[in-house]
Symmetry: D2
């Protein structure tokens, strides 16, 4: 046990007297091996993958280390297709559009948008996956799904916390919910996925609706969380996959703005000016400060 | 004509006295329409796209405004699959891996890597598309492809400039060249793509090899440039598509690092220290400066 | 109480039928008022500030809303001077240096480095400020500083957690500790700052050293945490101020790399290659996948 | 001469068989030397700088390698103070404010804003410095400043190009111009700076006004360009210094938004929706695509 704490500085030493092997080992990876004339991705030569696997299957391979089944690949593809865009009212899209008018590369505009997919804007799917994992665990321990869901909803309400992945302040019913749940329901029925996360998510939706005038249907974060858990992804990769998906919309919007040629686009059309609620105009106190 | 110049400030006004329509119009887009209960992507309801189009087709739809043919979709998919990763020796990958150890979200790590795909690291494909466009234009004006290519190579050599998309300081022959050229050759032979960019690229490769002991084969930037031009993408989107593709490898590497739990990973294992070639140790000149 | 949860989408509406005032109000700020011919910063016309206040005083004004006393300004200046750089072994510096070789603007290189100052790399000062705040509160409630510090150290050790701001895996004694503590000690003695955070920090240092063969002296995060709390900054701005300070070193390093003209600099000099610990080379399973 | 071209891949090898010295040399720097217990910044021990140099002087030292004179330090300080903010109508500020509502760290919000200070939004100062350098060179070659400026204005007008650093679409007269020019005029009169860039800038301002109903006064980019050239900074660092300055405003605005607690703030208050000018709603063509 130690109380020595990491400062804002580099990482610990591998050895007192490092060798060149320590140096190359410092950057070791299981993702790819690049040598002159060779590009192995998770063990497969890249030339065998090109033209043979879909982009979604390639994403799976790179993140998971092995190829998906055809059914898994299709389900992943559907979730990636679903979340590409939510228009310029999403700050990730708006920021990328503004970046594209400031004289940066298109890559910088995409990076700007992706940078905004933080815990609040991009993290709900990841958080919902963690909630589903808890429910699945409770069921594995013998609880009924509805019982476990009711218990969890009660706990969240007592703590005045929101359950991530349900309800939408914009859509009364998220149009992406039904097609995703249909696909994952079919996959589970066919035995292509375990089905536990789907059952947990539906139980949670029922528990949330109980005793309320209107249901609180799953949103895109909830529906993709079910898909990604059925496919066995860890929660953090839920956000990672959302990043890959939303990057498509971010790029499309940034490109539209760049192609239109706007320059230094702010949030308001002129001559509208932001409101001001600060100190009244005042003079610097007398006396030479310097 | 005017010499008034943009300063580092916001964009011009739409009207002297704006209305709410000017405000919503300021953020107008042709990419998507989001209303309560509705997500239209390029006119298509999102629920019709989920499960029906591949992720690569969705990318095409979002960037181009219409769906690709099946052949176009497959060719795009192959190019996206090809460029996902080049290992931690690529700074985009290394930077993302380091970011993942600093306590940021996975989205911030991906944004960090994407931010590095600038003119030099990510722009060669875009630049090669511009070169191909010049050659195609010369051919459209009546020149033979080899003649036009020889002329262009001579011009670049005279200016001591590199032709982007050819040669690789790492791979004697880029393993991604052949499978991509095979696929685009098949597509052109089948009439699925026009074939002009392919002919221009091959003529350029021949012209570059003429009179040299070793050929200078196309690299990934050149091969994908041919594919993207055959598919009709503007050059700037060449970089955009590379960003989408490389984001996959960036995410896979960032996730590997995050899952391994390293903290504040610098480029060198300790106790190795960066070299120093600066001023010798010295004392601050005497005299109270403040 | 509600269980409706935010999805990855925009923020709530101000009113059912917004007016232009709602639009300008949406972007309201107390930081500055910009009108044609006028730039008010926290109420002061910018032309009165130029040449009259130091850059550190300007930083204080912008973040706090009022000008500091001369003593406060000097103390802030010292802390900003202290943390500018820790060399390329810091990932924020290394990532910015790599970015500068990839054909991006210098601003993108700085942004890349700043993006890495996350919870782990840039957050220790902020976290230390929270710890100091707890101790100060305990003292305000009647506890002695040493008693409160000993209790807190015991609590952290029981939870096997590190106390942020103390110890350094690189420096046996951080050379920035002593000059910063001397300055803040003088300020407290002169009545320019309250002194409570300094007393809390020193008590914590003593409590950490008790019963150990070697002390665990404050590092830069701990020393600046004391300064920033003595000056009344909230913990989150501890990270913000570190960002402003470290940006200087990030810029200096990015510029050095850019001026030297390196292109696409990876972490290792060639021909060194990253190690590989992944799947052995393998062939794609037979069977047409597409 | 070679036609081998860089691909989007890492940098060239230092040697066929590298040693550990090549590895540490790969990361060599003249900016700082960090060893256990030692932090040298441009040769000075950090503990000597803390409390002795101002933040602006530290910035100079880090970027230039030596300490400024007191007069140089004050002039740099004035320019840094001048450019900190231009309100949320600047996209760099607006994007950072939006980022702060998305659940990212304050460092990520600052990085987001800085990332937008590209060629158009942050590059005008840098470009103006290049124009001033051309004029100074012409004067050094024997031309009169007004003659050279008139020639340059004619050339730009013929090419229908803007001269960066003059005019402002927002301010009829930028309030930051006069105090900065007063200070740099005093410095030049006192012999603290050479004066050539100031004379060039004023000649350019006169040439731009000649024959026009209204003058086209220097804006902040022009005024700081004069200051930075008088101080001997290379043009690219003009953008670098603007980044350091504007980071202060970006941080102040991001913090204001974060402290207010908004979540996922888009550009428009609801229920306002972005306009739509895309394809009419349509159905996916029949036929199974998958």
């Amino acid at each position: 046990m130690t109380t020595r704490t990491p400062a804002t500085e580099p990482a610990p030493a591998p050895a007192a007297s490092p060798s060149l092997d320590d140096v190359t080992g410092w950057w070791s990876t299981a993702v790819s091996r690049i040598r002159p004339g060779e590009i192995l991705l998770r063990g497969y030569p890249v030339q065998q993958l090109i033209g043979q696997v879909s982009f979604a299957e390639q994403i799976w391979l790179m993140l998971r280390g092995d190829l998906p089944t055809a059914a898994q690949g299709r389900l992943l593809e559907a979730a990636l297709v679903a979340a590409v865009d939510h228009g310029p009212q999403a700050p990730s899209i708006a920021a990328a559009r503004m970046a594209a008018t400031c004289g940066t590369g298109l890559n910088n505009a995409v990076a700007t948008g992706v940078n905004l997919l933080g815990d609040v804007h991009g993290g709900a799917g990841q958080q919902c996956m963690e909630v589903l994992a808890r429910l699945e665990e409770a069921v594995a321990d013998g609880a009924g799904p509805d019982e476990a869901a009711t218990h969890l909803v009660r706990e969240y309400r007592a703590a005045r916390r929101h359950i991530p992945g349900f309800g939408h302040r914009f859509h009364p019913r998220d149009p992406r919910r039904d097609p995703l749940l249909t696909l994952v329901g079919q996959a589970a029925a066919d035995g292509d996925t375990p089905g536990g996360a789907l059952r947990a998510g539906l139980a949670l939706e029922r528990a949330l609706a109980a005793g309320r005038p209107r249901p609180v249907p799953m949103n895109i974060d909830g529906a993709t969380a079910i898909v990604y858990r059925e496919l066995g992804f860890p929660p953090e990769l839920g956000r990672g996959l959302f990043v890959l998906s939303r990057s498509v919309g971010i790029l499309a919007h940034a490109w539209e703005e760049k192609a239109a040629g706007a320059r230094i686009k702010g949030p308001l059309p002129r001559p509208l000016l932001p409101g001001y609620e600060g100190a009244a105009p005042r003079d610097l106190p007398p006396g030479e400060r310097r």
